[in-house]
Symmetry: C2
Subunit: 193 residues, 2 copies
Amino acid sequence: MQTQQRILNAARELIHSRSYADVGVALICDRAQVKKGSFYHFYPSKQELTLAVLDTYFVDMKEQLLDNAFKNDIPPLARLKRMAQMAYEFQKELQKQTGHVLGCPFGNIATELSTQDETIRKKVEHIFTKLQSGIKQVLVQAQEDECIEPFNTEATAEAMLAYFEGIVLLAKTRNDPEIIKQLLPAIADIRII
Amino acid sequence: MQTQQRILNAARELIHSRSYADVGVALICDRAQVKKGSFYHFYPSKQELTLAVLDTYFVDMKEQLLDNAFKNDIPPLARLKRMAQMAYEFQKELQKQTGHVLGCPFGNIATELSTQDETIRKKVEHIFTKLQSGIKQVLVQAQEDECIEPFNTEATAEAMLAYFEGIVLLAKTRNDPEIIKQLLPAIADIRII
């Protein structure tokens, strides 16, 4: 694997399973088996690397949503439940691998750094806005296709994103992925009028 | 003010406005104007202090919920909306003071440390369980007093707690307390059957 990719992969894994502050450049270099000089050749700082890590997570998540959860082979609202099921399987698999429900990589970073690093805060905000817009598209289609009362699709998409983040936060705090399985499908029932 | 109280207050403020990792013992001592020896006399470690900080937050929150939000001068479900309004005012005030929506002190710590510190994870889990049980009591009363379809009060209380945490997380990420004002009152509409 290319050096830069090894650095990215190591940082993704380490930051997700610990925290931003707990993972230093030395640890990332060690895990990626690269020298510090090589690290700084690709990333001038841990902040830069973290922005790149967030990008790779977003690319993966977008792919998962577009190719799987939000695929139009089932009705729109059922797609939101499929997204819930995928989140459950993802966190359950992480727990199997690491012993812990690791939570949402975006929510984790935002919670830890929003008051301390404005660049990273804005990055996660931007990603959340894109995710919200993806959910909104599903809701707009639901309103066209399914027999449901009209509602505010923008605000509902934001409330759904919040519910998603909150459920995953609770599952992380309780180290129990079953909370996601039990409670996240109700995301499809949220309506802001 | 007593030395121990000054340490606690400084730690509360610093950890809430930054993060656990970003706040060292030296900084807490500096803010509290105490010597390191004095710090370690009261708290053998930053972990011990953090457990005490979480306790003080929980005492405050319980007081706020019992004496204000959940007071039985209005119908049960309206109390949940009053809790939402109080959360909005709290985060708005913090933003005014610090420039940032600081988020939930419990959710922040849980997100940052759940995979790294089992003692702290369990502490927040315990606090969440108590908060959930407080919400459940309101729901049980709602089912007795108000004309609403039967639902699972335990699971609904957990979903409401998650929604609360998710909305506050989003408000922190966007540094915008108005999200809480707009979206958190819908907490009263969540139902898990």
